[in-house]
């Protein structure tokens, strides 16, 4: 469904370019449920934003349903059926929750928007007329972000840490909504997450370390590798100070 071929992303640093994503090759199959995981700063969000077109690829190609979309802009990719729920959704002064949901669904009907809010566990009466501004809490913001993706209904969707800031009990509900959509409508879904529970639920986990794909597999395979990576990073950090040689696998 979506293929990344030799995808790299550099940003210019003080002295030389910094490689954020390094030569990533992977393909996502239609109708599967994926997780992308990896340490903070490993490049998960960057990879998602490359796919959405928010960042331009420095090298490599992106194919969606066989078509090369590397040179398409964000809205063109959105129209083709790619969606991305932001890790840190932006806030808008003067745009109401209702406006955002109507934009996302393309339907200017309150009843439609109400449905999406209920799905993410927010009472429509309390939220429809509120501005999507700093007055909303972090968890409320994340749920509204997820609601916009439900409303947009892309066939390929990436949720960037949908669990962040959402209380545990409500997150179960959100996860059910996302999984139901994936199952019933065959939406290819990627969850960027650190949660063990999510990693156990997906078909395949992609482990990203330092801008590269370190490993791909199910939880039993990936979990020990993650522990290893995290442990090793800690050791190398310490070893620099202690001047003891350690080598990461």
């Amino acid at each position: 469904m979506l293929e990344l071929k030799g995808l790299s992303y550099n940003v210019s640093g003080k002295e030389k370019d910094i490689e954020i994503i390094k030569d990533v090759d992977i393909s996502f199959d239609k109708g599967k449920l994926y997780a992308i995981t990896g340490p903070n700063g490993s490049g998960k969000t960057s990879l998602a934003q490359l796919i959405m077109g928010i960042y331009p690829a420095t090298k490599g190609r992106i194919l969606f349903k066989g078509e090369d979309i590397t040179d398409l802009d964000i809205s063109e990719r959105a129209k083709k059926g790619i969606g991305y729920a932001f890790q840190y959704p932006p806030r808008f002064k003067g745009l109401k929750v209702l406006d955002l949901l109507s934009l996302a669904s393309g339907i200017e009907e309150e009843t439609v928007a109400r449905g999406y809010l209920r799905q993410v566990g927010l009472c429509p009466e309390d939220y429809l007329d509120r501005d999507v501004d700093p007055g909303l809490s972090g968890g409320e913001m994340k749920r509204i972000e997820i609601a916009t993706l439900l409303a947009k209904n892309p066939e390929f969707v990436i949720y960037d840490e949908p669990d962040a800031g959402v209380d545990l009990w409500s997150f179960d509900l959100l996860l059910d909504v996302i999984r139901n959509k994936h199952k019933k409508e065959g939406i290819t879904t990627i969850l960027i997450s650190h949660q063990e529970r999510i990693l156990s639920l997906v078909d395949e986990i992609i482990l990203i370390v330092d801008g590269r794909i370190k490993d791909v597999g199910n939880k039993d395979k990936i979990w020990p590798v993650i522990k290893d990576v995290v442990g090793c990073q800690r050791d190398t950090l310490c070893s620099r100070r202690d001047k003891v040689e350690t080598k990461c696998r």
Partner: protein
């Protein structure tokens, strides 16, 4: 005399009216009174000593409105009026002012409205003033309103001042005096583009105990336009005041925001906040990821911001 198509469009833009309004009204066109209607509770009289009208709202009048739009449809008009409002004790009314200019000519069209408003004890007034300009003129469209407002004990005034399109130059002066338990809410919304210039000076005097004011300005400056905001709140008693100026700047525009607060009393609580910045990149990216083009996303963001 009847309203023609140009008149009707201007009326719709500045007062949301499709024809002569319900209730009391005074329509001024090209420097002359065009039509006028008083009601039992709201009397409109032409001033005898200078151009302008007196609008007198009977004490206790509830849920009535008065429309006083000004239309300029020719160039070369320099219109100056003095309007006095007497909003009677305990009344609750809406005033829809506003000025629309259609200028296709080579000379300037200009309207300077000088309003003196008395909001008497316990009364409540909502005042909406929209500015709008259109036409292919080389001559400028100029609006310089001046409003002086006296808000008596326990009275509330809400002023909404909007200018979204087509006014080349505006200088707005607003001065208010608040007495015991009086409230004043000012919301200013402005968009300038091209070579337009806009300046707004506001002085709110919190003269007596428990008076309250909140001044909000939301503006967008595009092209080579220039904006200056100078809202001031001066507290002489235990009172509260908030000033917030928030501007989106684009292209080569210039925006200057100078909120100022002064306290002459130890129990005054005053705050101000001013921000100028471009459209947040993440907002654009989010809307584009929902399928909007960049231009559509900008329009949505600006429209929301100015709402």
């Amino acid at each position: 005399m009847k309203l023609n198509a140009v008149d009707k469009n201007l009326l719709e833009q500045v007062a949301d009216l499709h024809d002569t309004p319900q209730g009391a009204y005074n329509i001024r066109r090209d420097g002359e009174g065009f039509s006028r209607h008083s009601t039992e509770n709201i009397q409109i009289n032409v001033k005898e000593d200078k151009p302008g009208i007196d609008i007198i709202v009977k004490p206790g009048t509830k849920n009535e409105s008065v429309h006083i739009p000004v239309l300029l449809t020719q160039d070369g008009i320099n219109d100056l009026v003095y309007n006095t409002f007497e909003i009677g004790e305990g009344s609750d009314v809406q005033v829809v002012a506003g000025c629309g200019i259609h200028n296709d000519g080579s000379q300037e069209s200009r309207h300077d409205g000088i309003h003196t408003i008395y909001v008497r004890k316990g009364a409540r007034m909502r005042y909406v003033e929209k500015h709008y300009g259109e036409g292919e003129s080389v001559g400028g469209r100029v609006l310089n309103p001046k409003t002086i407002i006296e808000i008596e004990e326990g009275a509330t005034a809400e002023l909404e001042m909007v200018q979204i399109k087509g006014v080349d130059s505006t200088k707005r002066d607003t001065e208010a005096n608040l007495h015991k338990d009086a409230n004043l809410i000012i919301v200013e919304r402005l968009l300038t583009h091209g070579n337009q210039k806009a300046r707004s000076d506001i002085v709110v005097n919190l003269r007596e105990e428990n008076s309250f004011t909140q001044i909000t300005s939301r503006t967008v400056a595009q092209g080579d336009s220039e904006q200056i905001f100078y809202p001031r709140v001066i507290a002489y008693a235990k009172s509260r005041g908030y000033v917030e100026c928030d501007s989106i700047i684009m292209d080569r525009a210039i925006v200057q925001s100078v909120p100022e607060i002064t306290a002459h009393h130890a129990e005054a609580e005053l705050t101000h906040e001013a921000a100028i910045g471009k459209i947040a990149g993440a907002q654009l990216l989010k809307l584009m990821s929902l399928g909007l083009s960049e231009q559509e996303a900008i329009e949505k963001i600006l429209k929301g911001f100015l709402r």
